[in-house]
Amino acid sequence: MTADPQRIEFDTFEDVAAPLPRAADGKPPRTEVEVVPGKGLDVGTANLLSAVQRKDGRVTVKRERNMFLEVPSTAQRSRSMLTRLNVPYVSYRDRLYVLGDSSFSLANMFGSEVRRPMSEGFLSPREQEAIPMLRFIVERPLGPRTVDHPPASLPLPLPSPAHENPPSYHRGVIESLLKKLGYEPHPINEGHAVVYAELAEQDFTGIGISCGGGMFNVCVAYRTIPAVTFSVSRGGDWIDEHVAKVMGLSRTRATDIKEAEGLNLTDPRSREEEAVVLYYRNLIEYVLRNLAKRFALAPDVPSFTDPVEIVLAGGTSLVGGFVEVFAQELKKVEFPLKVASVRRSEDALTAVVRGCLIAAALDQ
């Protein structure tokens, strides 16, 4: 467990599975665990997560980074070596690609840039191989379909006012992909998924914010019903992009600095961390300004009698000091609702996928 309680890393999870011994055919033996029907899937710009509920009540999560890296074709001869090193690859159109976390580690090691199937919450229009690669990256955490869990609730990113990429195309591709993999997708708004996962005590009344890599999704809900939902197309990637630009680094390196253990927004330790803090603060201020503006423009904002709680979730909220800086910036904005408190989800990275799993379980 890490020292900073604000930062929840994957190593804080209990019961992390150890690498499994391999059978003679090279395939790992599969341990079948009884699970409740229904799966949750979070197709994020930076991470893909799937979740299932076991019969013993525990929720298991699989995660993969949503990225890939093309490796030189000479590495074609090294496929068996990649398999032995547990590095997932895909060979497509005479090219070899390494997927997920391994691509991030390789890119970081060699100072190159990873390729991303998605940007700003949607399928990247700049990436030619977005759909074929996403197919494999989705398949990896989601796994093969079994008759026990056909529904897979997936969060649906909402378009931000400035976004040019129509969400229907993104949604259509993801839904088609899941159908092709044998699932029945049921879209749900990301912010709404956060409300499902985190605001049970408040009868699902409050504000859920999913702070993702590509965008921030916001949902204001009253007793489970989403009253206002919207998004802004800035997220963790925006910070990486600007830090990389001003510090003369690769984006992968900037991501590594941003995700480094011990980084605290209230106490940067180096020039690079100072740049990260600067852009984090700028991002939070931008999101809150847009939030207030959206409230001012929306005709259907409910007026709550009691102050509401704001719950933050998503990978971008994991950094130390995020909640403090968020609360500081919130005080500077003329916010139209009375806020009782701001808190981060106990398990911020999995909040959206847990919300999706809840939605999938409700559909049963």
Partner: protein, 296 residues
């Protein structure tokens, strides 16, 4: 003491003091007051005059003393009158200042109201500007969509026209063939078959595999172009282009032969999250069963 002197002193006191009831004094918390009679006041004046005269002893006769007392008394009355007038003036000025302060408070209140109204108008103006900007973007997007739609319609119209012309040509050919004797048609078919065989042989020699790949690539490209055109022509934010994306994704899966991966042979890390979903799920199910609540 002369009567007229006493009267004048009483007048001065009357004009320079105000009458206060005992009850009022009690209300103010006064428990004792000092009082001075008119005759005592006159005595004081006289005493002051006597004291002054005493300093100049022998300089004035008794007649002079009376005259000085009289003059002093007159002077006292004059000064008292001036004092009374001055106090009246101060009172009027105080009233005037109070009126001015009230007026200033009213003006300040109006200024505050006007400032609030100005802020509201500024906010409305900013909102209206934003709405206009949003509309501008939407109009541009719709205009681009209309242009694309028009292009697609033109393309489709041209394709339709081509098809119509082709159908017309085919009809003519069929009509010609029907008019010709059967043997002629058979000969022509044989010739065409021979031509095709020659063409196939030529293609085989040029590299059938290459051509097939090129053909497939070209077909893929055309299909991709068609699906993109269909998407561009039909997509709207509220649309669900599932059928088009189904076709697109199906093509990826159909290329399974071109893909190879080791994902089947690798395991992905599985973690158990500390947060559970039971509480949320149970509460949601309960809320579903409850009658709907009114919005706040």
């Amino acid at each position: 003491m002369r009567r007229e002197d006493r009267k004048s002193v009483a007048d001065v006191i009357e004009s320079n003091t105000r009458r206060v009831s005992v009850d009022e004094l009690v209300l103010r918390g006064k428990r004792h007051v000092r009082i001075i009679s008119g005759s005592k006041a006159l005595e004081l004046v006289e005493a002051i005059v006597d004291a002054t005269i005493a300093r100049r002893a022998g300089e004035l006769a008794d007649i002079d003393r009376d005259r000085v007392v009289k003059e002093a008394n007159e002077q006292f009355q004059r000064v008292s009158r001036i004092q009374a007038e001055a106090e009246g003036l101060i009172e009027r000025q105080k009233e005037l200042i109070a009126q001015q302060a009230q007026r200033a408070a009213e003006l300040e209140d109006r200024l505050k109201r006007a400032s609030g109204s100005l802020k509201r108008r500024e906010r409305r103006l900013a909102n209206a500007r934003q709405t206009i900007l949003n509309y501008d973007g939407e109009i541009e997007r719709l205009a681009a969509q209309v242009r694309t739609d028009a292009r697609v319609i033109d393309d489709l119209r041209a394709a339709l026209q081509d098809r119509a012309e082709e159908a017309k040509r085919l009809q003519e050919v069929l009509r010609d063939r029907a008019a010709r004797p059967a043997e002629d048609g058979l000969t022509q078919l044989r010739d065409e078959f021979a031509e095709l065989k020659t063409l196939l042989r030529e293609r085989e020699t040029a590299g059938a595999a290459d051509m097939q790949r090129q053909f497939r690539a070209s077909l893929d490209e055309t299909l991709d172009k068609v699906s993109r055109t269909i998407h561009a022509a039909t997509a709207r934010p509220e649309d669900r282009p599932i059928e088009a994306t189904d076709a697109l994704v199906s093509r990826i899966f159909d290329r399974a032969g071109e893909m190879d991966s080791n994902l089947e042979r690798l395991d992905i890390e599985v973690s158990t999250t500390r947060a559970d979903i039971h509480k949320s799920l149970a509460r949601l199910k309960r809320l579903r069963e409850e009658p709907p609540a009114a919005a706040p």
